[in-house]
């Protein structure tokens, strides 16, 4: 019955539940495997899941966990918004104007190949050890990827819709909202997906190098204390946060944005 409903895609709540169940079972399997491995190779450098869980509870009780998770999450969100907006605008311009694309293509290749670490170090040297430099450095790392994806999106614009909008005299803002953005949506979703994962990894490096809070800072601290359980606890806590965001925020938004597509029969 569930499988049947799933196929039609009409049932509102059965669809997200089934994948969630699969994910849970799969994660429990991974934990069991990890526990077994830790039992066989007993070492301070490889704590079993139970010990990581204890650290997690301790850090949560003291409030440290949420403070640092919040700091990192805030940076991820800020860098994501900045990178997506700037990257999308540049990408659409390059995709729409061939001349601009030819001129700026070498710049794009250059920025795509600058290592994240170099951008971060330079940002801290030039702009100081502050929040703006940290977020800016992360955004600059991500922008070239967004540009490449959104440029493809702009190249795939269907001229018939633009012509229809011109004939019926859509206002400029309506053209963006009803004609351009819906056509860019799949590319935007792709850039977002690959973006969030990349951004949070770079945010950790930024925090490690020049911030005094956040998951990256904590991991660096526990690295110096050689506390592997705490390192894993923070990492897993943040991965869990990202998973929840994916399930409760990204997927519903995507379902809404693609509601007009013909459902698979």
């Amino acid at each position: 019955m569930t499988a049947k409903e799933d196929k039609s895609g009409r049932s509102g709540f059965a669809t997200p539940l089934t994948p969630a169940l699969t994910v849970t079972v799969s994660l429990i399997g991974l934990c069991l495997l990890w526990g077994l491995a830790a039992h066989l190779w007993q070492s301070r450098a490889f704590p079993p899941p139970g010990q990581v869980w204890q650290v997690l509870l301790r850090e949560a009780a003291s409030g440290d966990l949420f403070y640092h998770l919040g700091a990192t999450l805030g940076r991820v969100a800020a860098a994501y918004v900045v990178a997506m907006i700037i990257g999308s605008v540049i990408g659409v311009i390059l995709g729409s104007y061939r001349g601009a694309d030819r001129f700026f293509s070498p710049w794009l290749v250059l920025f795509l190949n600058i290592p994240a670490l170099v951008v971060i170090v330079l940002a801290y040297i030039w702009f100081g050890l502050n929040e703006a430099a940290a977020i800016g450095a992360v955004a600059v790392n991500k922008i070239p990827n967004v540009v490449v994806t959104m440029r493809e999106g702009a190249r795939a614009f269907d001229p018939r819709y633009a012509e229809m909008a011109a004939v019926y005299r859509f206002a400029p803002l309506e053209r963006i909202r009803h004609v351009l953005l819906p056509q860019l949506q799949p590319y935007f979703a792709a850039a977002s997906r690959s973006g969030i994962a990349l951004i949070w990894k770079i945010v950790l490096v930024v925090e490690l190098l020049g911030r005094s809070n956040g998951v990256g800072f904590q991991i660096y601290l526990y690295f110096q204390l050689f506390d592997v359980a705490a390192i894993l606890a923070y990492t897993l806590a943040f991965v869990a946060v990202m998973l929840v965001i994916e399930l409760l925020l990204v997927q519903p938004i995507e379902r809404h944005a693609t509601r007009w597509r013909r459902r698979p029969a």
Partner: protein, 246 residues
């Protein structure tokens, strides 16, 4: 200058339109094309496939500005133009009703569309997305969009192409119904002579590339009298006047 509100015809006077291919070969599509459509008249641009009918329409729609010559659109009302394209060209991510309302000028956005949707048989489909419509229904929605705008002139580019004859016939009747309710100066491109004879007051016959006007064929008979017998008479006199065209 014509006084405001006076009936102005659609005047077309295109000296030349040339396409340049990627290899540098230039093809003259239109040459010395000039004609007029009187206010409130339904005219058809008729000619063989590939003779430049759609090119002419794209120039009149303002989508192609690379030509020599001039044209004047009818004024009045919203001064807007409406078009029914070869394909329905509805925004797939907006519902039928949103597609129609988005095309309206701000002053008409809130107007009631009940009558128009009823006439076109779209009353139950307002909240559907275009992907959920058949081609025939999508074309009706495209007609609804064009007529809702209360435009000063209406352009149609083979709006019934790739439909089965029965559906096309039904849609032609619907087109006549909504057009008669508010007769707008209309120019329709077609290569279907029967369709042209059935719908239009005047047929503008184009010659093979480079397109220019071969002649006019006026159909003065009211549309309700164009029964099969009359249609075949019209067809015969058209073929006498333009042998070898149809």
């Amino acid at each position: 200058m014509q006084p405001v509100g006076a009936a102005v015809p659609l005047r077309v006077d295109i000296a030349e339109k040339t396409f340049r291919s990627a290899q540098g070969v230039s093809i003259t599509a239109l040459q010395g094309l000039s004609f007029e459509v009187r206010p409130g008249e339904f005219a058809c641009l008729f000619g063989p496939s590939g003779c430049g009918k759609t090119t002419t329409l794209r120039i009149l729609l303002g989508l192609d500005k690379d030509f020599s010559g001039s044209f004047q659109l009818p004024q009045g009302g919203s001064n807007r133009i409406a078009a029914v394209f070869q394909e329905p060209t509805l925004l797939p991510w907006r519902t039928v009703e949103q597609n129609v309302r988005l095309a309206l000028p701000k002053s008409l956005r809130a107007k009631s569309l009940d009558e128009l949707f009823d006439t076109l048989g779209l009353a139950g489909m307002r909240s559907l997305y275009p992907a959920e419509l058949s081609l025939g229904l999508a074309r009706r929605a495209a007609l609804a969009r064009a007529f809702a705008t209360e435009s000063a002139v209406l352009f149609l580019d083979e709006p019934f192409a790739s439909l089965d004859e029965q559906t096309a016939e039904r849609l032609r009747q619907l087109l006549l119904t909504v057009w008669s309710a508010r007769p707008t100066t209309a120019l329709m491109v077609t290569h279907n002579l029967r369709e042209a004879l059935m719908l239009s007051d005047r047929i503008i016959v184009l010659a093979q590339r480079p397109a220019h006007v071969l002649g006019m064929f006026d159909v003065r008979l009211p549309r309700q009298h164009r029964n099969p017998q009359v249609m075949s008479d019209l067809l015969r006199s058209f073929q006498q006047k333009f042998p070898g065209v149809a």
